[in-house]
Amino acid sequence: MADGLINLTIDGVPVSVPPGTLVIEAAKQAGVLVPHYCYHPGLAVAGVCRMCLVEVEKAPKLQIACATTVTEGMVVKTQAVQAKDARQSVLEFLLINHPLDCPICDQAGECELQDFVFQEGRAGTRYAEYAKRFNPVEDFGPDVLYVPNRCILCTRCVRFMEDVAQEPVLNVSERGDRAFIGIHPEARLDHPWAGNVVDLCPVGSLLSKDFLHKARAWELDKTASICTGCSQGCNVTLDTRDEVVVRVRPRPNLEVNRYFICDHGRMNYRWINRGDRVEAPLVRRDGELHATDWDEAFARVLGILRGASGKAVALVSPGASSEALSLARRLFSAFEWTGAFQVVMGEEAPLAGVPNLALRAERAPNAKGAEQLGYTRDYAAALQAAASAAVVLVLDDPDCAVKTEGALIYAGTTLPPEAAARAADVVLPIANVAEEDGTFVNRDGRAQRYYQAKPAPGMARPAAWVLGELAAALGVAEAV
């Protein structure tokens, strides 16, 4: 107690936790996952599924680990026979009205009902010869379907909408075994953060229409990433199947996004899979861009940089990594350099129940990082400066209306037919966010890493590699 911690034993493992900690959280420290459904660390405790029943020495009956706070000297036994029997019976009760349609259920493979039944459920059912509860599938909102037959009424979705989104459109309707999750008859589940109910649902009852029947959970590869939807910097997981991003889900980070992401971020992944990519370096020859190899492209860029002096302008995307942005500045160490970026703006959509969490108006992940590296928001001035600059670098901004008398280098993922960057002398194909490792700095100045989820197409390489090679050749890679 000297250090202000509470000492207890869970399944024989001693743990020390701060006062007020719930047994279910303390158990995680002992490496014990107490099976549970209604409990979620991001939601208010409900204590209704009764799945996390454990034996606590000296308590007259089994206790739910999610609503029991630790006390000094407490001895918790999650594997006591009584506790295991009680949990097995909860699983049996949960399954009697469950359709067991795992083969056609999106949740299969990442279903907590499957997992815990497999872990400690009964082999067979004793609920013989009775009809199961049936209710038709309901369309809850733009991206959410409700399959009531699979629902275990844990109420995570209800509590999320009520306490976290603070738009209480869901409830538990009816009583007894007729109960189901109801939606207000005049409301839709269209809150900008509503998609989280799909992640929160421990079973296949709330489904994303976007992900419906797209992939089986076990086919997915998962990569830690950062959402590019705005400057909040929500931590996400990119789910890829056969090197295609098929889903974005929140990755818990208590400091940034807790357990949630907004629907804008969730749906903002299709561009990652675009097929119309620049796949090879291009160089201008006889007034036309021609595909070539990296050697020729690098030689052409180095020739431009070594042969020019005076003003250089970098027009960059605030979605580029800090690594790339840093090198895009170092490359011009010998020049009089100006760097700028422009940010697409949108409407802010806060998540009411979580302080400092919102879909931010600035719809770019690394504006802060660009600012820290000396890039300005005065894009118009930079564009004007570009007109008379000796060298202009456009970094992954295909919409940039660049015009220059000097040399134009474009490093980008795409090059649409109408892009001003088509006037470039050299085009360098680069990887997008899912194809490289990198760092974004969120609006609060938090630098966060993201990792490569799939290979870049063709000869495209991460911008930091491309610019790094050039900087190294110029001898400016080490420092400004």
């Binding site: 405790v45 409900a46 204590g47 209704v48 599924c49 009764r50 799945m51 029943l53 009956k61 089994l62 739910i64 609503a67 029997d85 009680a86 019976s89 909860v90 049996e92 009760f93 949960l94 009697i96 009205n97 004793r126 609920y127 010869e129 009775y130 275990i152 009424l153 109420t155 409830n171 538990v172 009816e174 009583r175 007894g176 075994d177 007729r178 109960a179």
Partner: protein, 426 residues
């Protein structure tokens, strides 16, 4: 008195003295009968003194749990830092129980007076009386009585609010009742926190049953010692208790007797015994949520908290349901299980699914399609439904099933063996 029957000499008439006397319903009539003297006396006392008197009297909660009332009041913070609330549980929905209804119908001012005394004792400024939605007549009478009492200004600073339920059994559970008053779905809350720490609107709250509070004015007026003397058996159970007798007796109704009164006298004498040619088979002594007693156990039972427990059941709310030898226990138990399946709030898994599953098995047995292993299954489900949920609704469903199978196993086996004509239940 044995309303609607004439009083029986073996009754101890205290709460039911004016049952059937319409004049007692009015403020004027109540005052003429000595009403509101106890309240006036209480308001002159310190809150703590009132608590001590009630503690000393040995009064225990009449809603079912039998928790010592004075002790419950003493859990409220002595130093008042937040608003305190009193909730009065008048949601009497326990099958077989109809005593609070009669108290409100005939002596509304007894409840109002007890409520005001309790509110004073726990330093509550507002008392909510949560009246069962189906109680239309008691509601009207209570409304009128409250208006008259308010007009007479008898409550001082205490405000009494009537709140009407909407027809859910579970809203008689104390924390579900508080949720219901707050305008939320009537779901029981996880405890702790207990109401005395965080109850109605998150504030320190005490909740008492109608009959409990109706006894309080008598205790104040006549003293704790006198009340404590009302005891025929165990000294831990004091005072009088209203028993609502229903089922196969000649004179069903409410009977008020001293704690410790023999159950057999209540059935065979006060209630007039079985119908002619019939014998007693079983009895549920404390409302539908308690274990069923066999005839032998019934005849041995003394009606106080300890006496009923000694026979394997509970005093509960005092709703005595009587079955004679014509009763089909399997059917009766199925009806009880179906009630709980209907009323489960659906929060806890065991209760939501278990009550309905239990009902289905019982229906199947009645339909002649039962299997021998069904009885073990019922017992196992009941075990899994007991002591594992937020409130005791699930336990209440299990209690009659377990005791029924234990004591009337042959009736179940006859259905399963095809020896009884199947009953198709709608």
């Amino acid at each position: 008195m044995g309303f609607p029957h004439p009083p029986h000499p073996k009754e101890t008439v205290l709460l039911s003295q004016y049952f059937g006397d319409p004049e007692a319903r009015s403020h004027k009539g109540w005052v003429k009968r000595g009403g509101y003297e106890a309240l006036a006396q209480a308001l002159k006392m310190q809150a703590g003194e009132v608590v001590e008197v009630v503690k000393e009297s040995g009064l225990r909660g009449r809603g079912g749990a039998g928790f010592p009332t004075g002790l419950k009041w003493s859990f409220m913070p002595k130093e008042k830092k937040k608003p305190h609330y009193l909730c009065v549980n008048a949601d009497e929905s326990e099958p077989g129980t109809f005593k609070d209804r009669e108290i409100m119908r005939w002596t509304p001012h007894a409840l109002l007076e007890g409520t005001a005394i309790a509110a004073h004792a726990i330093q509550a400024e507002i008392a909510y009386i949560y009246i069962r939605g189906e109680f239309t007549e008691p509601w009207t009478i209570m409304e009128k009585a409250l208006a008259e009492a308010n007009a007479a200004g008898v409550f001082g600073k205490i405000r009494i609010v009537l709140h009407r339920g909407a027809g859910a059994y579970i809203c008689g559970e104390e924390t579900a009742l508080m949720n219901s008053i707050e305008g939320k779905r009537g779901n029981p809350r996880i405890k702790p926190p207990f109401p005395a720490a965080a109850g109605l609107f998150g504030m320190p709250t005490t909740i008492n049953n109608v009959e409990t509070l109706a006894a309080v004015p008598h205790i104040l007026k006549r003293g704790a010692t006198w009340y404590k003397g009302l005891c025929l058996s165990n000294p831990k159970s004091t005072g009088t208790k209203l028993f609502s007798v229903c089922g196969h007796v000649q004179r069903p109704g409410n009977y008020e007797v001293t704690m410790g009164f023999p159950l057999k006298d209540l059935l065979y004498e006060l209630s007039g015994g079985m119908r002619s040619g019939r014998t007693l088979k079983a009895c549920i002594p404390g409302g539908s949520s308690v274990p069923i007693l066999s005839r032998e156990e019934t005849e041995r039972t003394l009606l106080d908290y300890e006496g009923v427990v000694a026979q394997g059941s509970m005093l509960g709310s005092g709703g005595v349901i009587v079955f004679d030898d014509s009763a089909d226990m399997v059917y009766q138990i199925m009806r009880l299980a179906r009630f709980y399946a209907h009323e489960s709030c659906a929060q806890c898994t065991q209760c939501r699914e278990g009550t309905a599953w239990t009902t289905k098995i019982l229906e199947r047995i009645l339909a002649g399609q039962g299997k021998t292993q069904d009885l073990d299954l019922l017992l196992d489900l009941s075990e899994n439904m007991t002591g594992k949920t937020i409130c005791v609704l699930s336990d209440s469903c299990a209690a009659p099933v377990v005791s029924g199978i234990k004591k009337f196993k042959n009736e179940f086996e006859d259905y399963i063996a095809g020896k009884r004509k199947p009953v198709m239940v709608a």
